[in-house]
């Protein structure tokens, strides 16, 4: 979301801005405080919007909410209800006769169905999960992106062609999820409940932080890029664990790919195993005249290539524009490009790439592209 272009009325209408003003969502409060720190010139605008919103919502500002919420927490504590806990099951088991379980199963299938329906309004027939899978899934198609909030307050932006599964135990003390694809997470803080993301090549454990995970099944590597906070990475291949610091990313091969051409950011980091390269740590990639790291540019709806092969670029274009690209020339796959695109269509992107290297392309139909020399 590019908030820099927002006027006061746009801010007032933004849900996360409202939650920041009223203090009802800690993740939103953190986001906007950080944003204000990064854009001090916006403080007057934010003040106007905040004043207006707080009048319209009946004067429920962060102080009022904090006092009320404290009272709520005290009452819960007095009753022995502690956050992040699963209460013991009911003494009277209503599910004994078997019908209850049936109802529960129907409810969860319904839940899954509704989620799928909500995430895929255009193609309700397309079922992305196996029928016996009862996990809640967030699905994005090629060419589309979803942003949403998880039940615990974590903000997620899901890139194209990605699926995020919530484990059944999510929110019952075990915030565990599985990602196939790419997503940006701003994790809601909850020290009593670690946040764990599983991908093909690694597990990522978090305590309140913002980072990007790229783990497409058909890519050669999995990547985690950290913006702030601290995350722990556990490699699936050899149980090795490492800590990732802000502005670093870790690249882990899926299968047998060998990592080449990574830039090591510091010499005192001697953890890289010499003989068999299991992973590499690199700094986030920046292109000139741009503050956003390349790894995170997709969140701002920008398509950036930083010295990437045409083969990698084609895969990005396929997801971004929902097209299929075929190379008629192998040599073409090795061409390398750097570019920064904002809201151009796929034809325009290819035309711009043609300015730097000679190649041809044609559409076979709306969804199929062929590239040749």
């Amino acid at each position: 979301m590019n908030y820099l272009r927002f006027k006061a009325e746009d801010l007032v209408m933004d849900e996360s801005f409202q939650q920041y003003c009223s203090g009802t969502n800690p993740a939103a409060v953190r986001f906007w405080e950080q944003w204000l720190k990064e854009h001090p010139e916006k403080s007057e605008l934010v003040k106007v919007a905040k004043t207006l919103y707080l009048r319209l919502n009946g004067g429920l500002d962060e102080d009022v909410f904090a006092a009320h919420h404290r009272q709520f927490s005290e009452v819960l504590a007095a009753r022995g209800i502690r956050p992040g806990e699963q209460a013991p099951p009911a003494k009277v088991r209503r599910l004994k006769n078997g019908w209850g379980w049936y109802a529960l199963a129907v409810a969860s299938v319904l839940m899954l169905f509704m989620t799928t329906l909500w995430l895929q309004p255009e193609r309700p027939a397309q079922q992305s999960t196996a029928p016996e899978d009862t996990r809640v899934a967030y699905v994005s198609k090629a060419g589309e992106r979803k942003s949403f909030q998880l039940p615990d307050g974590t903000k997620v932006v899901l890139n194209a062609s990605s699926t995020l599964y919530l484990e059944d135990s999510f929110n019952t003390g075990n915030r565990s999820l599985t990602l196939d694809g790419e997503a940006f997470f701003d994790v809601a803080q909850n020290a009593s409940s670690p946040f764990v993301i599983h991908t093909t090549a690694m597990d990522i454990t978090v305590l309140g932080t913002a980072f990007n995970v790229k783990a497409y099944r058909n890519d050669e590597t999995n990547e985690t890029a950290l913006v702030r906070g601290l995350v722990k990475i556990s490699l699936k291949s050899n149980d090795h664990q490492l800590l990732l610091h802000p502005n670093e990313k870790v690249i882990v091969p899926v299968g047998k790919t060998i990592i080449r051409k990574v830039k090591l950011i510091s010499d005192n980091r001697q953890k890289i195993p010499e003989p068999a390269i299991d992973y590499a740590i690199a700094s986030l990639t920046h292109i000139p005249h741009d503050t956003t790291a390349v790894e995170l540019s997709w969140v701002d709806n920008r398509l950036i290539f930083a010295d990437e092969s045409f083969e990698e670029i084609a895969r990005k274009l396929e997801r971004w524009y929902d097209v299929e690209i075929r190379f008629e020339s192998e040599a073409l796959k090795q061409y390398r490009f750097t570019g920064n695109f904002n809201k151009e269509n796929v034809q325009r992107v290819l035309e711009v790439l043609q300015l730097s290297r000679d190649f041809s392309f044609r559409f076979e139909d709306n969804h199929h592209l062929v590239l040749n020399q």
């Binding site: 209408m13 919502n57 009946g58 004067g59 909410f65 009272q71 509704m114 039940p151």
Partner: protein
């Protein structure tokens, strides 16, 4: 739609005995429910007390709670009942000789609030004037969106308009309010008077 889905998921988690779901429902419905309580009682803290009590009751009954499609409406009904109960028992304590109790709490006290507040600070008066210049529709939608904290699906359905239209009406109304308040902001730097009370909420009542 997204919000409805989350709130239903929390409801399901509450039935299962997840304490976090209780907190989530409190945070998610705080603004809508507190303002509903304020409308009935004129007392924000009393509204909070009642909302907390409603959630505790739901927690105690979690194993027998029905499946609910509109969680917000369910909570509102519970809160309404709770507040009536509270007011009646309060009256009974204070004037035990009075036999007949009103069925609905009175809303008259708001008018007094309004006049008392209007003279108090310049910004409030200006905002009130600007607000009165909006169309009925604009005032209604601002109330639904920000005071009652309804989502666009609900607003669109209730008003028989599309979500897009609802969104545009609110956007235009906000822009107009902002522009009318601009002079004040430049002249004085727009100091935020501690929102002692809910001037707009009171207007909303008279719709």
């Amino acid at each position: 739609m997204a919000e409805i889905l989350y709130t239903q998921e929390y409801w399901r988690q509450l039935q299962k005995g997840n304490t976090d779901a209780l907190s989530a429902l409190y945070q998610l419905h705080y603004i809508g429910l507190i303002n509903y309580g304020v409308k009935l009682t004129g007392d924000r803290d009393l509204a909070n007390d009642c909302f907390i009590n409603v959630l505790l009751e739901l927690w105690d009954k979690r194993h027998t709670l029905p499946d609910v499609t509109n969680v917000r409406a369910y909570l509102i009904t519970c809160l309404h009942r709770r507040i009536l109960l509270e007011i009646r028992s309060d009256k009974r304590r204070n004037n035990s000789h009075r036999e007949i109790l009103p069925e609905e709490p009175s809303e008259v006290s708001y008018e007094a609030y309004l006049t008392a507040l209007e003279g108090n600070d310049e910004f409030t008066r200006l905002l009130a004037t600007a607000f009165r210049r909006l169309t009925q529709r604009q005032q209604q939608l601002l109330r639904m969106k920000f005071y009652e904290n309804l989502d666009y699906d609900h607003i669109a359905q209730a008003c028989g308009i599309t979500k897009r239209t609802a969104y545009n009406i609110i956007h235009d109304a906000l822009k107009q309010l902002k522009n009318e308040l601009k002079g004040y902001e430049q002249a004085t730097g727009l100091t935020i008077p501690t929102p002692t009370l809910l001037i707009l909420g009171i207007y909303f009542l008279f719709q």
